[in-house]
Each structure stands twice: as structure tokens, then as C-alpha cells.
């Protein structure tokens, strides 16, 4: 029988995870939003409440450092890669041809297009937005929990992953668009994921030189513990 973790357990076990790993910042609870009605009541919406846009990595930073819940829709986004990766806008040929990556970050237009077409992405139109918050107090049930960790903490998490089901983590890695690489694959596969902070995450959102991102499904927090009797 599959035991579904409750929000109370997410708070409790997420807090335990933070303490056990001695994390510098909170793990980030992530929920995709199908509409405005799904916005958590305590969420800040950047354009509505702050009067400016945000990059998704900055919303991650607000959640993990300040304990702030942030909800973002397409009009709140300043960076277009999560807009495409989360399926908030329909992809266009200009993107898939690699025009924004060539010549600065891929040496041929053809290969730039290859990167763009392979960027993890959700189907267009399924979701309208995303909410992020600290896992220890989030007011919503997360679909994914992602976190900035150092090498030692990553080792511990991978050891726990092996302990739970004996399976290694297979990830698609890139130096770009960490928001997509951290969030989209776990949503698509239901598996853990490792991602590398991108330049935007480092420059705009204070990702540190020694940090990597690990993503897990909330149910895994419980699978590391004995399942309650009768569950």
C-alpha cells in the first residue's frame, strides 16, 4: 500500500531533514498552479505585491532564505526559460532554433537548437503558474521538494536514496536553467533529480559556489521512516 504523506508530515520531516543535514537554507516546496484559484493564501505575487517581475531562481531564494511563499505566473516572470520549461508559454521556432544561445553559449546555431529542444519542459497549457515556499512551513502540499546542498549533503541524500529503494539517481545535467532542470524532471518521472545552479541562480539568487540542487518527491520523506500502523 502506498502511504501518502500529509502536509503536517512534510513540515515535520522537512524540518528533520534540515536539521539532520545541517542545511544553510530551507528546502523549497514546489507546487504547480492550474489557475489563480490555486494560489496559496499566504503567497506573494511579485507584480501584484511588489510591483516588479522576478526570476524563478529569485523566488527560490526568497523561499529558502526568507521563508517567503511566492506564486508566479507568466506575467511575473522576467526569465523566459522557466516560462517555456514550465509550459506557461508555447514554444516558438526562434527558441527551438537556438537563437538565444548562439553564439554566446553554444558554438553553432545547430547545437544551440539541440540544447533548446532538449531542455526539460512540461506540456504547454497544463499549468498557469508555480508556487514555492519553505518546506518547514509551506501552506500547500508540494509536488516536488528541491534544495541547494553542498557536496557532503548531496552524498548523504544519495545514500538515503539508495537505502530507500536501492536505485541510483539518473539526471540530465546542464549549466543553464537550473529552475527547469531541478523541477521539471521529477514532475515528469516521479524520480529524484540532481541539478547544477546556473549563472542566473548564482548572479541573481545567491547560489553559492559549493552548492548543487537535489530534488525529491514529498512521499520520499515518509519512505525514509517507518510507515504508521494501519496506513
Amino acid at each position: 500500500m502506498v502511504y501518502m504523506v500529509t502536509l503536517e508530515e512534510v513540515h515535520e520531516l522537512g524540518t528533520e531533514l534540515e536539521r539532520w543535514l545541517r542545511m544553510r537554507v530551507h528546502p523549497i516546496a514546489v507546487k504547480m498552479l492550474k489557475g489563480r484559484e490555486d494560489v496559496p493564501p499566504d503567497a506573494v505575487i511579485p507584480t501584484r505585491d511588489w510591483g516588479h517581475k522576478f526570476a524563478l531562481c529569485q523566488a527560490f531564494a526568497k523561499a529558502q532564505r526568507d521563508g517567503q511563499t511566492v506564486a508566479m505566473f507568466k506575467e511575473d516572470m522576467w526569465c523566459f526559460e522557466p516560462v517555456l520549461g514550465l509550459g506557461l508559454a508555447e514554444s516558438i521556432p526562434y527558441f527551438e532554433e537556438g537563437n538565444h544561445r548562439y553564439p554566446d553559449s553554444v558554438r553553432t546555431l545547430e547545437d544551440a537548437g539541440e540544447w533548446c529542444r532538449n531542455m526539460p519542459h512540461l506540456e504547454y497549457g497544463v499549468y498557469k503558474g508555480i508556487a514555492v515556499g519553505p518546506v518547514n512551513t509551506c501552506s500547500f502540499m508540494p509536488q516536488v521538494v528541491t534544495m541547494h546542498v553542498n557536496g557532503m549533503q548531496m552524498s548523504q541524500l544519495l545514500i538515503v536514496k539508495n537505502w530507500i529503494d536501492g536505485r541510483d539517481v539518473h539526471s540530465q545535467l546542464s549549466g543553464h536553467a537550473v529552475c527547469n532542470y531541478a523541477v521539471v524532471p521529477p514532475l515528469l518521472t516521479g524520480e529524484c533529480n540532481v541539478a547544477i545552479p546556473c549563472k542566473g541562480d548564482r548572479r541573481l539568487a545567491m547560489a553559492q559556489d559549493d552548492e548543487i540542487m537535489f530534488s525529491l518527491l514529498p512521499d520520499m520523506l515518509r519512505r525514509g521512516h517507518p510507515v504508521p500502523a494501519g496506513a
Partner: protein, 39 residues
Amino acid sequence: MLQEYKDEYDLKPAYAQLGEMLGMDMKKSPPREQKYQKY
């Protein structure tokens, strides 16, 4: 306009162009370097 994005927000013209093609308003930048008032 694309050069203005570059000057104002350090945003690559190709990024600004793609964002606008996706229907995004690239003129509203996220917060950058903070300028503190004297106190």
C-alpha cells in the same frame, strides 16, 4: 529598444527579443543591485 535593455538591465538582446516574442514584458526588471539611502 533592445540596446536599452542591454544598457539598463544587462540583458542580452537575444534574450530580450525572445522574451518579447513569448509575450513577456521584459522592461520590468527584477531587483538588481540595491542602492541604500544614507541614514
